[in-house]
């Protein structure tokens, strides 16, 4: 097992080998995954994994290493080779551990560990996956096939020790249930993947709820067609608004900012979006998937308001990017097992608005309700956005017919300013969440 003592020892040894600063991290996890298809168990996977990582600085030069081998020889080799590599890289003034006064003083209990996840039997997990698929298959005669349903659980422990005086560890659980029914009509097949992921078993949507929702989502894709190319108002369903927010992160990531590789460079304090938009990253929501007591460098996590009523308030930063920009870290460091910390979000969301999703749809005379997107067409440097989309066409405030094989395109600068309505339907199914949003116009490309 990986202990704080082992990591302390690694840090001490690294310093002895000549490192001026050192940081050791450890992860241990046990994972379980079962997939059921057409009622039968198809895959069952169970394993435990672990690893330790070391980052050192040698007079401002940085290197890192990791190993899954915890034998004394492998650990010694990790320490000596990492220090030796650091002697050969360049002096980087911004590369350093956090200042001592920035480090978390205590490891807060954020309710990340649910013993009932560990207590679940294999039979029960199979049953959950089976029930979700059954609910989906029973929903409608047109659900004729299934990609299956999966139940996954994991328990993990993260540890971090550095030579600046931090030592901490925390445990967490996660459970996820996913189901993917296939609907068929007139020779056309459509699949929808739907699921939920939570830290606590009790917060997970029931298998029946997930199965029925997945079936509805597959069925409503049937008999879709292209539309003609036109500019139109766009309503993004909450699950796709989530993806837009994921793209937006790349534009506020401290690395994009100091590299000047974001369209939001130099815009702090400026109005970048409609006043209705508030975007928050919160590392301390109790029991949430993205919560953790300290970040990848040992700073106490916090809530950071990124956009407040349309004004850009903060970028998301770790120690390195904060020093490059002359700002303070927002405790957004993610520590990969190998490599320097990167910037990531915790629980990243758009604050809910006042409108019901139905009201937002009803406000559109002629426009596109996007319920799925495909592809990776976002350029954070320019803000240009272009992705494949499917959903329903809206006529006179009502969902008129399903649409597929079209793209929606625009530039994030205009899209952010063009947000006209924000829904009240915020729900976390992972680390990113957004309510339904309406954007005044984008280009829909089809026939």
């Amino acid at each position: 097992v990986i202990t704080i003592e082992l990591l302390h020892d690694i840090v001490k040894q690294a310093v002895k080998h000549g490192a001026t600063e050192a940081e050791a991290t450890g992860v241990e996890s046990t994972e379980f995954h079962v997939e059921v298809r057409l009622g039968e168990v198809e895959k069952l996977q169970e394993a435990a994994s672990r690893g330790i990582g070391l980052r050192v600085l040698y007079q401002g030069r940085q290197a890192s290493g990791s190993t899954s081998d915890l034998s004394p020889q492998a650990v010694d080799e990790l320490i000596s080779s990492t220090v030796e590599m650091a002697k050969l890289t360049s002096v980087d003034d911004a590369a350093a551990l956090p200042y001592g006064d920035e480090l978390a003083r205590e490891v807060a209990d954020l309710g990340l560990y649910d013993p009932s996840v560990n207590a679940l039997t294999t039979e029960r997990k199979i049953e959950m996956a089976r029930s979700a698929e059954e609910a989906a298959r029973g929903a409608d005669a047109r659900i004729t096939n299934s990609e299956g349903s999966a139940c996954s659980t994991a328990t993990g422990k993260s540890l971090l020790v550095n030579s600046a005086g931090f030592a901490g560890e925390y445990q967490g659980t996660s459970c996820a249930l996913t189901v993917a029914p296939i609907a068929k009509e007139n020779g056309q097949m459509q699949v929808a993947v739907w699921g939920d992921r939570q830290r606590a078993l009790g917060s997970l949507d029931s298998p029946e709820t997930l199965g029925l929702e997945a079936a509805m989502r597959a069925l409503r894709k049937l008999n879709a067609r292209k539309v003609r190319t036109q500019e139109a108002p766009i309503v993004f369903e909450s699950s796709v608004a989530e993806e837009l927010l994921g793209d937006f992160f790349a534009a506020v990531d401290g690395y994009s900012i100091f590299r000047r590789a974001s369209f939001l460079v130099g815009r702090l304090g400026e109005m970048i979006a409609a006043p209705a938009l508030t975007v928050i990253d919160d590392g301390r929501m109790r029991g949430a998937v993205g919560s953790r007591p300290f970040d990848g460098e040992g700073l106490a996590t916090r809530q950071t308001v990124v956009v407040e009523n349309g004004v850009l308030k903060n970028y998301l930063l770790n120690t390195y990017t904060a020093r490059k920009l002359g700002l303070r870290s927002t405790a957004s460091a993610i520590r990969p097992l190998t490599g320097a910390p990167v910037v990531g979000f915790s629980n990243f969301f758009i604050a809910p608005g006042v409108y019901k999703a139905d009201e937002i749809i009803a406000s559109v005379k002629n426009g596109f309700y996007v319920t799925e997107m495909i592809g990776f067409g976002f350029n954070a440097v320019t803000g240009d956005f272009s992705r494949g989309a499917s959903g329903w066409w809206i006529e006179d405030g009502k969902l008129a017919f399903p649409v597929e094989e079209v793209t929606v395109a625009g530039n994030f600068r205009d899209m952010l300013r063009g947000i006209e309505m924000i829904g009240n339907d915020l729900r976390f199914r992972g680390r990113v969440a957004a309510p339904t949003i309406k954007i005044d116009h984008m280009m829909v490309s089809g026939e």
Binding site: V41, K43, Q62, S64, M189, F263, G377, G388, E405
Partner: protein, 475 residues
């Protein structure tokens, strides 16, 4: 080349008779088939930015994955140690998938070697001294900055890995491989009075240090810088349905998304692919012959043996427009009776194998690229792409152009901004109306994701014309 059997038995306390006994443990509750996948991998990376080497990283991982197949069911477990007791525990866990009771006892295996070596390398990149690798990065950085005064920044990285694998199966085979892989990546940012654009280039494969000649490094640098500078002039991309000409090389990602994934045997066996049940039918114009070939020397997607121990091969997927074959792994091959194609791949010992592409490309045609462009009145000429994605079930796929131009009256004119192209797999290739004779494979940068697993792949294409495709611009 490292000899995998002696590598593992020499480095760890494990013998061939242990392996035979472990296969027996995997089948202790019955089951049709079991295999053990031993892996020892080291990964190195080096990153240069702002003209300094910001970090050097080295990771080492090893472990064993145990799989047991019983009918359509698969049990899988792995351990992060190469230790008989730990592997036995994993084997007994995976064994739970089978319920027939009695096992065969130890399963005899006979050692063999891959029939060929597609990536014999004089010197592994990981054995190069760090200062020598740093020199390569510096060279690219200098060259990129010299391209144009508007190139403000270059990020250069070199990632190399060396993976030794050993696969033991209950069919009695014991075969290993040692697999080098390297990738250089260059990203340039151009800044023209605050207007920013980026360009990306790079390449690699299953190669050694000698692959990265000065000439090739300079080419990467120039290419990334050129793309960034060109984009400074780009107009808004057009929106709507139009003729599209794809240039040679990386635009082959079209094949990967439009037909490649849809022809993986697992999706078809389960009737979930838009191509299910279409074997022998016309799915492309007769100008199109598409192959997947894992047996090409030194390519990023190549393997001597796949991750189930079977020899890789060239598989014809589409021949003169007619669907001819699927990409098979062991499980699909067992269940459908189709022959193995050597496409059972996995990301690591922590993952189960499944049917995956290797190097996928379209064969040359008779046209010339000049004639193809001349034949277009109004259309899009796309030469560089970012990623793509496909919905296997309805066949809809996208891929995003990062460098494209308008074609007007048979001439390539203005550069346009990035745009996503969208199409339908089963009919996209039926609209291929011309294929040129300039087939190229990509430089060796592709990574394919499926079901949470990433594997290195290659794509290739000659210049082709598609009579109609939806282009997702804004104008």
């Amino acid at each position: 080349m490292i000899e995998p059997i002696s590598f593992f038995t020499g480095k760890f306390d494990i013998s061939i008779s242990d392996i035979e006994s472990l296969l027996g443990a995997a089948l202790s509750r019955g089951g049709d088939y079991a295999d053990l996948y031993f892996e020892y991998t080291t990964l190195n990376s080096l990153n240069l930015e702002e003209q300094i080497v910001k970090s050097a990283n080295r990771a080492s991982r090893h472990g064993v994955g145990v799989r047991v197949i019983s009918g359509e069911k698969t049990g899988y477990a792995y351990c992060d140690e190469i230790d008989v007791a730990a592997i036995r525990k994993a084997a007994l866990t995976a064994a739970h998938i089978a319920e027939s009771g009695a096992g065969p006892g130890p399963v005899g295996v006979s050692p063999s070697r891959p029939a060929r070596d597609l990536y014999r390398v004089a010197q592994l990149i990981e054995d190069e001294p760090l200062p020598r690798k740093i020199e390569l990065l510096n060279r690219i950085d200098r060259k990129a900055r010299a391209f144009d005064r508007r190139i403000r920044e270059a990020q250069v990285s070199l990632a190399d890995e060396f993976k030794v694998v050993l696969i033991a199966t209950s069919e009695g085979s014991l075969v290993g491989d040692s697999q080098p892989l390297a990738r250089m990546r260059v990203m340039c940012i151009a800044d023209d009075d605050g207007a920013l654009q980026s360009g990306v280039s790079g390449g690699g494969g299953r190669v050694g240090m000698d692959f990265y000649s000065d000439q090739l490094l300079d080419q990467y640098a120039d290419e990334a810088a050129r793309q960034a500078i060109i984009q400074l002039e780009a107009q808004d991309a057009p929106a709507g349905s139009m003729e599209v000409v794809l240039g040679p090389g990386w635009p082959g990602v079209l094949l990967h998304e439009a037909v490649g994934h849809g022809l993986e045997a697992d999706f078809n066996r389960k009737g979930m692919s838009a191509f299910s049940g279409m074997m022998g039918q016309k799915v492309a114009s007769e100008l199109c012959t598409v192959v997947d070939d894992g047996a090409m020397p030194n390519r990023r997607g190549s393997l001597n043996i796949d991750d189930e121990g079977n020899q890789t091969s060239q598989t014809v997927l589409i021949e003169n427009g007619v669907l001819r074959g699927y990409l098979q792994d062991k499980l699909s091959s067992r269940l459908t009776g189709a022959g193995l194609t050597g496409n059972g791949r996995r990301e690591s010992y922590r993952h189960m194998p499944m049917p995956r592409m290797t190097n996928t490309y379209l064969l040359n045609g008779m046209s010339s690229s000049e004639d193809i462009i001349r034949s277009v009145k109004r259309g899009l000429y796309a030469v560089q792409f970012g990623g793509g994605q496909v919905d296997i079930t309805n066949g809809k796929f996208v891929f995003s152009a990062t460098e494209a131009y308008l074609i007007e009256d048979g001439k390539v004119t203005a550069p346009v901004k990035g745009a996503t192209l969208i199409g339908n797999g089963p009919d996209a290739l039926t609209k291929v109306t011309a294929v040129a004779n300039d087939l190229a494979l990509d430089e060796g940068v592709g990574t394919c994701g499926k079901d949470g697993q990433s594997v290195p792949v290659c794509v290739g294409l000659p210049t082709i014309k598609i009579s109609e495709m939806t282009v997702g611009g804004t104008k």
